[in-house]
Symmetry: C2
Subunit: 248 residues, 2 copies
């Protein structure tokens, strides 16, 4: 009657046991499979995560995996959620600014610790349970903020998205080979960029302060700038919202 449920992904994400229990007890579990994939990615990078290698690690034939996972893409989605388990135990004594900053920073740190996270195809917006728990923590930090839930969610999305970009930058900086002459943005500019082609960029860059060594920055957290920018924006939005409520 109803055509086959288009996706069992979500039940699998949430570890729901499929109702009918008829055949033999499964020797494998989704969690086991995902864990094996996790270890492989950790040790040899995401590219090394193939169905065959996961199967070997878990001690079964490659095709056995398909009984528990629709295909490789789904495995990667499960893996992405699994990774959110590695986010640290939070400090609960923070008001929203500090809390959100820590929340953000923890995500960056996770990606730096596990750079293969950034290689995951992160198309899926729908979070699994682990990611959702992390979102729940975000809501905790926003507990005293007077905003509708949907706006809080949007804010957390923006902050998380920023964390992703920041992580990308930091990972790239960590990997950057000092022998590579084009490692940095500035070097690329002086080598290739024609002032006539990029006039405004070059004009602004002409006044570049080439980070005196030792003085690096006010803080040693490279995400400090973006962080304060976001927090300022959020604070402004909150005030505007309160104003509007009061006027009513």
């Amino acid at each position: 009657m109803m055509d086959a449920m288009s996706s069992d992904l979500i039940p699998r994400l949430w570890g729901k046991p499929p109702a009918g229990r008829r055949g033999p007890k499964p020797a494998l579990s989704v969690a086991q499979i995902v864990e094996a994939a996790y270890v492989i990615a950790d040790e040899q990078g995401l590219a090394a995560v193939s169905m065959a290698r996961v199967a070997e690690a878990v001690g079964c034939s490659p095709m056995a995996l398909y009984r528990h996972v629709k295909n490789k893409d789904e495995l990667l989605i499960l893996l992405a959620d699994r990774l959110c388990n590695d986010l640290p135990e939070p400090d609960r004594d923070l008001e929203w600014r500090e809390g959100l900053a820590a929340w953000m920073r923890a995500q960056v740190d996770l990606a730096v610790r596990k750079p293969w996270f950034l290689d995951l195809p992160i198309a899926a917006t729908l979070p699994g349970p682990n990611r959702l728990a992390w979102i729940d923590l975000g809501f905790y930090y926003l507990r005293d903020v007077a905003l509708p839930a949907e706006e809080k969610l949007a804010i957390l999305g923006i902050v998380a998205q920023y964390a992703l970009g920041e992580a990308k930058i930091e990972v790239e900086a960590a990997l950057s080979d000092p022998d590579n002459p084009y490692a940095s943005f500035e070097e690329m500019l002086v080598t290739y960029a024609d002032p006539e082609r990029f006039p405004h960029l070059m004009a602004s860059m002409a006044t570049w302060q080439p980070a005196a060594p030792g003085e690096e920055s006010d803080s040693d957290d490279p995400s400090a700038f973006g962080q304060s920018l976001l927090m300022a924006g959020i604070a402004a939005h909150i005030e505007r919202h309160i104003e509007r409520s009061d006027r009513k």
Copy 2:
């Protein structure tokens, strides 16, 4: 003597002709190859972009491509930069807020128009010439803003990163199958989320306003919220910066 230059990527990105010209005239060009890949991605999605198919489109054997492109990853990087050519002709009569908003929106629209853009492995932070031209436009919009170049660059990075996230959401919303019962975040919550496991999230969601039909939102631009948040943050940062300068 010196071991082979680790990467010819950047010369290729910038279309620099390799100095020595001895052998036969190339029948293929990098631009041609990238263009073919672009068309295939456009018509059949990024997954359809294989070396073989690109070769066929361009009328050569698969292996011929490797004379012009180090490997597939490099082709995709070139493709990503090529895509930035499709960004629209900008309106130059905007002050920074409007300008940056348009700058951001154009990126979202591009990704919505060409959803396969989001499938690209976007690890590379170093922009090619087309992306750089777009960054130059960002600097144009910030022309009257009194901030150091590095902070302007960071701001553009943050805005672009936000655009990416927003695009992901909008693309997913556009693709979401109305038959799929778990399409939306809220539906997933009511189906799976245990209030004990996600207390703060659920408490906040309890007061969810389920978007009365027809009233959707104040504006019909779904990125309006994030946009105003970011602009507020940037404005606050600018003011703080001016204050600090004045005090000196």
